[in-house]
Symmetry: C2
Subunit: 504 residues, 2 copies
């Protein structure tokens, strides 16, 4: 396909090569070392990209042990992929040179195109489009590029992203959002197949990338941050088709009046109308979220909660207000907290400390420091109620701090966090019903860094066991509601019925 014309809807083979390049040319590596080009080179080294890297700078020289080729033409081999970060006016020539070197694609990190609102910017962007039509796929310009843990590609400021692979893809018009979700995913336990920051989207953008992901075996959950789409009709047709087989979580920015204005100067897109967007997303069975954390929680939920309809939730925790609040929140998100059957409830009560406990649902264990062996009784018991589809366990680990101080021991020795996550894993597999863990931290002062540490440690051990962890019960409920609603509305899962439910 090199150098020739390509049919408008081709993708797949070229894109596979772009996401998994055996070698990369980085065009625009300043030997001073403070530009985008040198930044991405160092990031690729830090994340451990194993392919060959060729660095190009018109003045030649050397950077970090890399010979700087004076031009793309000078590179002594064909290239699979190029990363371009030269000034805007030099981009078209560089791109053409990469095309002639056989690159399947290029990400253009440089800004200064259509988003500037100038005629010059628009003209340069058109040149990029024209060259791409001759046979090189383009990500960008004005973007942070591709993060692909499998192949070791990373975003512009992404030296420290995770190399663990997973089911979540993210297509983002904003580079900032791309890097933000990648960072959040690292500690929250969202593992990625591909993250693409496509910026102005001169060539590859939302619709074509979405189509590619539908057939990507590494991707099971798709997130999108969209400021505006090129062809609304085609986009929504594609979205509907893709969302019928894989959950697509959409965060649409710029639906407000002033947001609309900001979108123009950000990625040169047209924002679109709120009502049209919201109804079209609903009709497509896409999951619309309204902020970054919402998107992250939802991606986590779809990664770790098995497909199924979850309406009945059992909540276990210590501290009665949590009980009241969880009921209120459940109602807000359309979930049910059915009162447990009497026999089950009284059985659970036998194990709980008294007075102060209550085992109706929420199961209030009265005290935030109840041992996992007692919590197990509550979780095992509640799972026996057929109306319970999923369980939420809230642990206020920060309350152990006073105990640790009293005993003069480090917090890590006092919190039974390994017992906790092992118990959850075991109960989940024994009962066949998913369990979600909530670990709030209300002690966030400088003196309590150890509380933060133990919560992070507990979270990472939970994530290793595929237990989703949230900071807040509200996030847990909202996520369960999104997951449940999606599968309830998706034909492929509806037909399977209960067989998919709760297979952890």
């Amino acid at each position: 396909m090199k150098g020739g014309n390509r049919p408008d809807n081709s993708y797949s083979v070229e894109l596979d090569k772009i996401f998994n390049p055996k070698n990369i040319a980085i065009v625009g590596v300043s030997s001073a070392g403070f530009g985008f080009g040198s930044g991405i080179l160092l990031s690729l080294l830090a994340i451990g990209y194993k392919g060959k890297i060729y660095a190009v700078n018109k003045n030649g020289g050397e950077f970090f042990g890399f010979k700087l080729y004076k031009s793309v033409q000078d590179i002594p081999s064909e290239i699979d992929f190029a990363i371009i970060s030269v000034p805007a006016e030099l981009v078209p020539a560089s791109l053409e040179a990469c095309r002639l070197k056989g690159a399947a694609g290029a990400e253009i990190l440089s800004a200064g195109f259509r988003e500037t609102g100038t005629a010059e910017g628009a003209k340069l962007e058109q040149e990029i489009k024209d060259i791409s039509r001759k046979g090189i796929r383009v990500i960008g310009p004005n973007c942070f590029g591709i993060y692909c843990p499998k192949s070791g590609l990373t975003l512009l400021p992404g030296p420290d992203l995770s190399r663990e692979e997973g089911p979540v893809a993210f297509l983002s018009q904003s580079g900032g959002m791309a890097i933000d979700l990648a960072h959040i995913g690292k500690w929250m336990g969202i593992r990625f197949s591909k993250v693409v920051s496509f910026g102005n989207g001169a060539d590859l953008r939302e619709t074509e990338l979405l189509e590619y992901l539908q057939h990507d075996p590494d991707t099971q959950v798709i997130c999108m941050y969209i400021e505006g789409v090129e062809d609304g009709r085609r986009f929504f047709e594609t979205l509907k088709k893709v969302a019928a087989t894989k959950p697509v979580i959409v965060y649409k920015g710029g639906l407000s009046l002033s947001g609309h204005r900001a979108v123009e100067s950000h990625t040169a897109s047209m924002g679109g109308n709120r009502i049209i967007w919201e109804s079209a997303l609903r009709q497509s069975n896409a999951i619309q979220v309204n902020d970054m954390y919402d998107m992250a929680h939802t991606a986590l939920g779809f990664s770790l909660i098995p497909p199924g309809k979850y309406s009945g939730v059992a909540v276990t925790g210590g501290g009665g207000a949590l009980g009241v609040l969880s009921c209120d929140l459940a109602e807000r998100f359309g979930l049910m907290l059915p009162e447990l059957e009497n026999g089950i409830s009284s059985k659970i009560m036998e194990a709980l400390p008294k007075p102060g406990s209550s085992a109706k649902n929420p199961i209030d264990v009265a005290n935030p420091m109840v041992h996992p062996s007692v919590l197990r009784e509550a979780l095992v018991g509640a799972a026996q109620d057929t109306r319970i589809d999923i369980q939420v366990l809230i642990q206020l680990l920060y309350h152990y701090k006073s105990m640790a101080m009293g005993l003069g021991k480090p917090l890590k020795e006092v919190v039974p966090y390994m017992e906790l996550v092992d118990m959850i894993q075991e109960v989940r597999s024994g009962t066949g019903k998913p369990i979600v863990l909530v670990l709030p931290n209300l002690k966030r002062d400088n003196e309590n860094m150890d509380v933060e540490e133990i919560i992070r440690e507990t979270r990472s051990k939970a994530v290793e066991r595929n237990i989703p962890v949230f900071d807040d019960i509200k996030d847990a409920f909202k996520t369960i509601a999104y997951v449940s609603r999606y599968y309830s509305n998706t034909k492929i899962y509806k037909d399977k019925g209960d067989e998919t439910k709760g297979s952890v």
Copy 2:
């Protein structure tokens, strides 16, 4: 008033004594040291209560150097205040003994009363009521008591709460919520006058405490967590009166069907109807919030943002998506992000890095690591636009981590956090317009504890300068909207007009 009957609406003098006792009897201090009684004694020592403490245990003995009196009668002086934590059936006799010893009030930590739903529990609670009518004010039962940084009283599990005094009072039917807000306040910068966990509220409860706070010179902002009120009409009359002079932030739990049920077993209250509650709160000009963090943010906002109407907001930050999102969020909360006047905008642009910056509003400084001296130009410039009432500055400090790694330096040496907070303080005072700081942390993995540390350090330095800090721009906007709406609807401030606005 000791031992006599008291008129139904009396308070003030007795309550002053309860909040500031010169000595305290703790009834029910187990020498084994793991009960509520010993817990509160150790907490009072840890927080540094300076009055005299008398510990009572029916078996006598000693605990932590304290002689254990066998009965309240044996205490060799009158007492101001009692903390009772004996089993429920022994509470009435203990309370009566404390009354006879001259105590103005007692907090009853013990559970096992009306919240159990048993006839025995209800009877015991009635006995408490009857004794209190003879002349001792009661907080509780089934509560965590009083936290008063000024006098050194603290909540049941509160050895490590702050001793810094401040304008915020919190009346909470839930002990868990009381301790949670007290902990959040410590790092968020909410400083308290009084926190009262009143549990079942057998005697003192929402309405009378609210009336007291209206006249409490130490209290300027009132938070309430309510599960149910005793006398709805009297409560809303009082609320309306109090909210006309001091902001009252109300979090009403149990407005859902299942929440209602949980309320009964938690504090034995009747939940009430959502629509009635919400309209009555609105009519009272109370600020209704829907979760704990919402309450905390709002309390912080009312503490640190001066009274005034804030509709025009300027947002400054690095990373374009923040711009789009802040516009969307502003609209959601009824705030305006007016496009800055051309002259102001182009003046700001002179100071900003290019390309990628934009100074329309949001002011996008293109890069998260722009120095405070450059940010100053943006903030000073935007303040000159008369449509700007308040400013929001977003700093993604976690992005400095890559820089620190690149330079091989500790993060603390790389982040100009002191320059940042000093700059904000100076610009705020120079321009007379409040500035709110947003410090998100998206790098929350174990390897990035230093990011958490620098953000906490920056937050605490900001709080020292009375700069409110939020984790998220959404919280900042919501808080500004709450503050602005309250003052817009409050006659006393409306009449003062612009004179109150922006006096930092």
